[in-house]
Symmetry: D2
Subunit: 336 residues, 4 copies
């Protein structure tokens, strides 16, 4: 039995994680911490939540847990990670703090000096399907961002095959409102979301851009630049990325389908859809699945990739990572 603590339990990601861990047969939630709601119980914040007491994270009983999950704002996560690791506790961080390998890039995009740059090189980037070598026994896991998970799973077989690709790759992505967080703002007001559809930070302006490009270049140093355009959808959850790639030279769809089929043949949570089928949110919400569709349009390959932003894009993948870290069956506790 793994004893776990959750920091930031009252954000959408934190609560989603609590729901998964509660049903996980190999995990016991030892504590849940919340800065805003210290002393309350989780059921007061979420109607469907269990009556879990919310402690002050500064008093977390590290000696009673094997692992902590950090659903904290960036910088705060890194600081907590330092404390937890020092106490001998494994850390699975759902913030952005350990995703970028270069502290300077972090500072540029997140506007803060990295609180623990010495930990960057020990962190495992936990896109589970492609981190199975590094995860077992790891002490610090950086769970990928939600958009990056969808785009990277959509691009991986193409990049891994080292096919030359014409610049740029364009990812037109759309996300449900839970991605914008629990804070009540004009952006998340029902009246501004319902019956609307809104692009934001399109092009090369969103913080997930450097994360995606970093991983693309791990897989293929010649990967072209990315144009990444997020849009806000009037739905609670789910991400669909519609990705446009132009392989250089002649190519055929059957060959590329085979790359994907081979890459994902045995994946419990990644599904290549049959020819003619396109990904949509309906395939993936409330699951840890990613579904991928492939379409050819003249010289352009269009990849549609869908995930649930809160599960495969956050809490579910965090648990999938945890399972591998602790040597459990990878799918345990997760809905495919």
């Amino acid at each position: 039995m793994i004893s776990a603590g959750v920091f930031g339990a009252t954000g959408y990601t934190g609560f989603e994680l609590i729901k998964i861990l509660e049903k996980h047969p190999e995990v016991e939630i030892q504590f849940a911490a919340s800065q805003s709601f210290t002393g309350q119980i989780l059921a007061n914040i979420y109607p469907k939540a269990p009556p879990l007491p919310l402690i002050d994270g500064r008093n977390a009983p590290y000696d009673q847990v094997d692992v902590v999950f950090l659903c904290l704002p960036h910088a705060a996560a890194a600081e907590t990670a330092v404390t937890a690791l020092a106490a001998g506790v494994k850390v699975i961080d759902l913030s952005a703090d350990f995703r970028l390998e270069d502290a300077a890039v972090y500072e540029e995009w997140y506007g803060k000096t990295h609180p623990a740059p010495h930990l960057l090189e020990t962190a495992v980037y936990g896109l589970t399907e492609f981190a199975r070598d590094q995860l077992p026994g790891a002490n610090l896991v950086a769970v990928p961002g939600c958009y990056p998970t969808s785009v990277l799973l959509g691009l991986r077989p193409l990049l891994a095959a080292q096919l030359p690709l014409a610049p740029p790759i364009i990812a037109n992505a759309a996300s449900g409102v839970s991605g914008a967080g629990r804070k009540a703002t004009p952006t998340t007001h029902f009246m501004n979301v319902a019956d609307n559809y809104t692009p934001y930070k399109i092009g090369r302006a969103h913080r997930h851009l450097p994360e995606i490009e970093q991983v693309m270049r791990w897989w293929n140093p010649d990967a072209p630049a990315l144009i990444f355009s997020p849009h806000l959808l009037p739905v609670p959850r789910g991400i669909l990325s519609t990705i446009y790639v132009t392989p250089q030279g002649a190519w055929d769809l059957a060959h590329i389908r085979q790359l994907y089929a081979d890459a994902y043949a045995n994946e419990p949570f990644v599904t290549l859809l049959p020819p003619g089928k396109l990904a949509s949110l309906a395939y993936v919400t409330h699951t840890n699945r990613c579904v991928i569709g492939l379409t050819q349009a003249d010289d352009t390959l269009i990849i549609t990739a869908a995930i649930d932003n809160l599960i495969k894009g956050a809490a579910g993948q965090a648990v999938q990572d945890m399972n591998v870290v602790f040597g459990l069956e990878e799918t345990v506790g997760l809905t495919g």
Copy 2:
């Protein structure tokens, strides 16, 4: 040409009013005031708004207007009304400040001493269809609340006929999110509204209860008490009230239909639906209409009454009132 000023132009009601006044052939908007956005232009707050400058209400040029519309919080509205009336400007108040005739009842429900109790008896309660005698030339009009408009139009013919009714009358009402205001709060967060349906302040707890009962008793001193149960709908706009009344003694639906048919035969904005038809939001959103359906269930009469909360329930009715106050055709500038 009527020269008008609008206070509170950046709330949902204020903006809806601006949209109506802008197209009104007999009105010129002289100024729009906003406390929160003084110095900005309305188009910065609402994508569809015109580039109207927003002035500080304290500097309102009363000498340039014939009428001001108050889309202000309660108490603030009454204070502005005092100033405007003193300057010889007519006031159409969309707040709750002049709806209740008794300052003590106001204080009980709104938690504040009434700022201008001496004005209460001069105010006309502007449920237009039943205030045509009092509105022409009136200096101070209290536009009814949104829920009261739907419930009162639904009950009026029954009450006016002085039919004895068994207590209580039950109004189960549901409103779109614009009724909750422009402020970003957990209540209006998309995640808490979408895929949800929530009762609030049900029974005898909502501020619109005393307003409705007051008018019911103007029309029929023996009107029974009201149970009023609002619910929040995952839609931007519209109110449906499903009202349960039990007339005492024998009654038949045909007779009661006739009361409604007679009462509303010549009304441009109130429609009695044919037998078997029920009101729904689809009849009324984006219009100044109220539609009413009548159903019998054993001894109980069920009245369904629908309006657009921002139009017939606020800005539209305010303009309808203004039209009568100034002797214009009642329907001008309004969508039926």
Copy 3:
């Protein structure tokens, strides 16, 4: 291990049942039948479904199953039940066919002569919480309707206490669109549902009325008549019933709260909310829970009761019944 078959696997209820049974540790789905999609696989109809082959129900291998679930239209269900029972297979029927004890009432409301009236008295009405004496070993279970489940759980403690109640009881209920079925009709077209809210068959016109009144009178022969008014909500799933009851004579809310607290103290799936809290869909969607809030308004008691119409109102309760029939722990395979 229980071997189960599902008829009508491609309707919303059937698919929800498949999802629950697939994860149920004590059940193996032996077959899934569909008239409309015979020969196809379930994943072709629902993006999230498993690749389950859909057989022709007429060829169902009854000798390989312990129990069949019937998610069929009325009348068709009864005919299949006869065949299954004759083959020695237990039947859990999610249609309306065995809910009404009187074949004449069935004929009046469902417009068909009952196909198997001789079975009516053997059927157990499976509102699990109040059928635990009759369910173990039962051969034929009638799973209650969705609206009846919410109204009956909301009323039960009051009726069981034999408190005298003034007529009528009014249940103003609202349901998500899945309750209207998978068939594409004008009623279920997105354009007619979104941004709308629609009453239908209000008063004493909906088929669930006689079912509810029948059970109310089992519990209290003097129960008053019911007014039952369903409304269609622009949400996929969930039912909220707002129920108005007037106990005769003096009463206090604390006493009535105690009746509910006692009745549901040990129920895994029924929760009495704390004072001041009202039920809403957010408490229950995607779970087998029912939550209940109690409010007093003068002489009237207002009960708010919410369930997920597809789970506690259909597939979840069917599995809860099955668990009791077969002597399993009642909560196994279900989400509270």
Copy 4:
């Protein structure tokens, strides 16, 4: 006063057109025809509609009208156009029948031999802003498709400037459900649309592709090929196209902004948003506006263009065309 007839009055486009024409001060609706609902009144089909009788289109009184609007399926529209033109009546066709100049291309994409190829060269492609020379007095107008309107207005200044552009241009577009028509199908079922977001016919598979490319090449014979990917949004109305273009050679955003500013400076219905602003549905629903935002991302220009698919994308533009055809002020009867 223009006397007008409407064919196909009961589709979404037809009803939207009726709503606009009813308020148009220079138009009188002489008749409304509907094949499916002949003999009924429009208010039976749409709650908000007027009680307009629906005649059989085959009995249309052509001698009483100056113009007919065709909101008919393709092929049926062309056949009606032939009859109307022969009767000396002007035709504004909202179908696809006269948009493509080449009958062979029409046959390829619409699967039918064109019913009236001899009319193709007389038809004016009514993208009003760029057809003002040809529209006055025209007898046959082809109103552009909804997606084409958004994409073409978004691309026009760039194409007109004859800037060399690298292939392909990618238009990632999303539309509300009204674009899918009034027919109840699985695609338009609330359960399949709500909480979902679905790509369809992406790449080079949608019928609007050849229409867009044809007009692109009128404006710039060297315009690159288009990749056009529509998606279905869970909203009733509105289209947002996010368009990716890579000008060849060096370019700067200020220069391109100036092209757009110049092109649209005096347009009543097309608005270039200020730097940093992106188009969204909230700017345009329920109006005849198109708003356009420009963003640079390295070498790529991203154009966001939004319209209301039923208004500027259909009925509104049809009326805008009619205004020009008959020499009225272009904006009369339309909401900017």
